[in-house]
Amino acid sequence: MTVSEIWIPLALTLKLAAVTTILLLLICAPLSWWLARSSSRLRPIVEAVVALPIVLPPSVIGFYLLICLAPQGPLGQLSAALGGPALVFSFPGLVIGSIIYSLPFVAQPLQNAFSSIRQDQLDAAATLGAAPLDRFFSVAIPLAKRGILTAAVLGFAHTLGEFGVVLMIGGSIPGETRTMSIAIYENVEMLEYGKAHILAATMLVSSFLLLFLVYTINRANNASKR
């Protein structure tokens, strides 16, 4: 097995997880803020929609995504009309799928972090002259720092482990949609157990290292606070 046989799917998986996590943080910051602080009647509906990917089988998400992202589907047509790329069997399509698949794993920790910010901290900022957006960035974000880190790690890790959705909408194009989990699956299908072992072990070790790093940073943060 050559190095590129490991590296290409690994790099793709890491890139997918990183892009997805960054986009999810940007999407979920306002969404979770609203969920945490709004008393709107729409809130339970939005909360249920956000939580759906936890419950649904990846094949269900993948199936609907396939319909939406296909060239005749609404998102596929939109992308084509805007001169964008094809969305099925492509990296951009995988990113969209991953965002939906990992949404609750980022939105929920953020929502918890934002809900635990005491109202008087935000009120204090308001009386000291901070406008709403200023309060969000200067008070809410720093106070929710640990929740943001948790959300980022969960989103990243959950995207790393994604399989069913990728299988449905990505196919297996090397360097484009052939992620680690797909590569392992195909090697097993072809009875290439040696290659599957190496790829699986790589995933196991890198996932462990990632989580270990996060918990070490978390611990150091806690220690410096005491």
């Binding site: 008087d120 009120d123 900022a125 009386t127 406008a131 200023d134 106070l143 720092k145 606070k225």
Partner: protein, 361 residues
Amino acid sequence: MKLDFNLQLKKGAFSLHAEANIPAESVTAIIGPSGAGKSTLLRCLAGLEPTVHGHIHAGEEHWLENKRSLSPHFRRIGFVFQHAALFEHLSVSQNLNYARKRALDSDRFTLEEIAQATRIEHLLSRSPENLSGGERQRVAIARAIASNPQLLLLDEPLSAVDEASRFQLSIELDRAFHAFKIPALYVTHNLAEAARLSNHAIRMVDGRITEAGPTSQILAPSSLSLDELNSPFSIVTIHSRRDLPGEGLVEIASAIGPLTIPASALPQDLPDRLLIRARDIGLSLSRIDQSSFLNQIPATVKTLQSQSASQTLVTLSCQEGTLHALVTHRSAKHLQLTPGSPVHALIKSVTLVDQDSTPTP
């Protein structure tokens, strides 16, 4: 800055309907039982209750007109919360800088002056979580002042502070009010604190303002409820002081005439009001020369009011001031006290804070 408001707010079963005119340059105490809406009134004035309507005119500015409300960050108020609400992710000096960076007016005081007046210079590099309750409140007060407010709103700033630091902190608060000359509204349970720190008072009951006026009038025993009357006191304005360092005493000129008191009872530069508890005043028909009482104030009986099964509250006028004395019915009868009787008020001690009437919140 003159403050004039008429506010209506419904919050569940509670409704607030508060209307008042607060004179410029005053420190106003808001007193009343728990649940009267004192804190809610303060939050409405700060713009932190979005559903309030009515009007708030602050000087020339309209903070609220029907439902058009000026956002809190434009009102230039300093709000001191009951539990300080310091930013836990910032150090003490960063907390002050947070306020200063966003201040709208030109700086009236430097951060150094503010830190010095509130005695937090040694805390500047600390994190809020390592501060005691009293220190947190001092930082909160400093932070509020650092934002160059045109009005300070304080929501029971001393209630989360332990008993021992409360008195010291109240002295510093008094000092800050004087040093920075910022008009303030101050919610408190503690009548003695209200009496010493404020010159104007508002009484609230069930979401309504039932009384407003000079503190000495609102807190006069005749206008207090039975609960509040447990330990009546008089508020005496101080005009000037002269220290007698050799004896550890200080001579003061006050509204009720000259008084000589231990210097330890009266910190330098403060306060401009003294409290004298009614039970610390004895009455005599003539001056008693052979006695240990340093302060024997000539006075005239104004009213007599039965206070309990055994005691009478005697209200006296002395020069331009008023004193309240608590004596037994038997003594009142023995001395044949009636309105107009000339007496001498024998003052046993003076205090800055009525420790005994401090309610447990």
